[in-house]
Amino acid sequence: MKEGVTMSCFIVPVAEAVVTTIVTKVIENKEKKQDAEKLEQGIRVSSFDKERFSNKLRRLNYLLWGGAGLLAFEHLWHGEIQPFFPFLTAVSNPADTAEMLNEISTVGVSMAVLVTASWGIATYVTTRIENRKESLISAVEMKGAN
């Protein structure tokens, strides 16, 4: 086994990806329902409206699934995971299991936090830009009306 800190750290991003994927689906369904209600009330639902939160969340899914997928390949490369039960080679030895759990709780959590924080910052910045654009458009529209 490779000397270092990569045993099963990808498990945390995978677990987060599963949760965020489910949350994305739930939010997407809610947004669709809301759009249908808006259409029934005669409110315009156009492509110029703000980007949906489910779309933003989907980016986090791609980052987590993509990153964790490639990381899983690295673990397979180093013989740390196997395609049959118990899947993680470290599980067969108690000392390795303890080390693996320690790495999951430190490296794995840090990975998930860094990816989520980067996505959060990017989403915050893009939302700010979006809001600024929207306020500029409404200001121009108000000027035109006067």
């Binding site: 270092g4 980052l63 987590l64 993509g66 990153g67 964790a68 997928g69 690295e74 490296v107 840090s110």
Partner: protein, 103 residues
């Protein structure tokens, strides 16, 4: 080396995605997400490894470096294969659909 190669791949795909409309249609963005996600995760891994090994981290054995390079190239190849599969399944330019209709 794996981290360096992945970051390099992430930067190149991002530049291609930014500059080329056709690339955006061909879902190069998916590749960007894969490479950036993996780069961030390997960066964390590298930081933890650095805290353990300190300066030794920057002087790997030639054999380890070769293995890491081989791994990095394999990771990039795997990501490209996944991207091509996504491209064929989603078929944004309807090329596969048209080819199937002809047959």
């Amino acid at each position: 080396m794996t981290l360096l190669l992945t970051i390099l791949a992430a930067v190149i795909t991002t530049v291609i995605w930014y500059c080329n409309e056709k690339a955006r249609q061909l879902k190069v963005g998916t590749l960007c997400y894969m490479f950036w996600g993996a780069s961030m995760m390997w960066l964390v891994d590298a930081i933890f490894e650095y805290t353990k090994l300190r300066a030794e981290y920057f002087t790997p054995a030639a054999e380890d470096m070769l293995n890491d390079t081989f791994l990095g190239v394999s990771v990039i190849t795997l990501a490209l294969v996944i991207w091509v599969l996504i491209l064929l399944v989603k078929d944004p330019l309807n090329v596969v659909k048209q080819a199937l209709r002809k047959n």
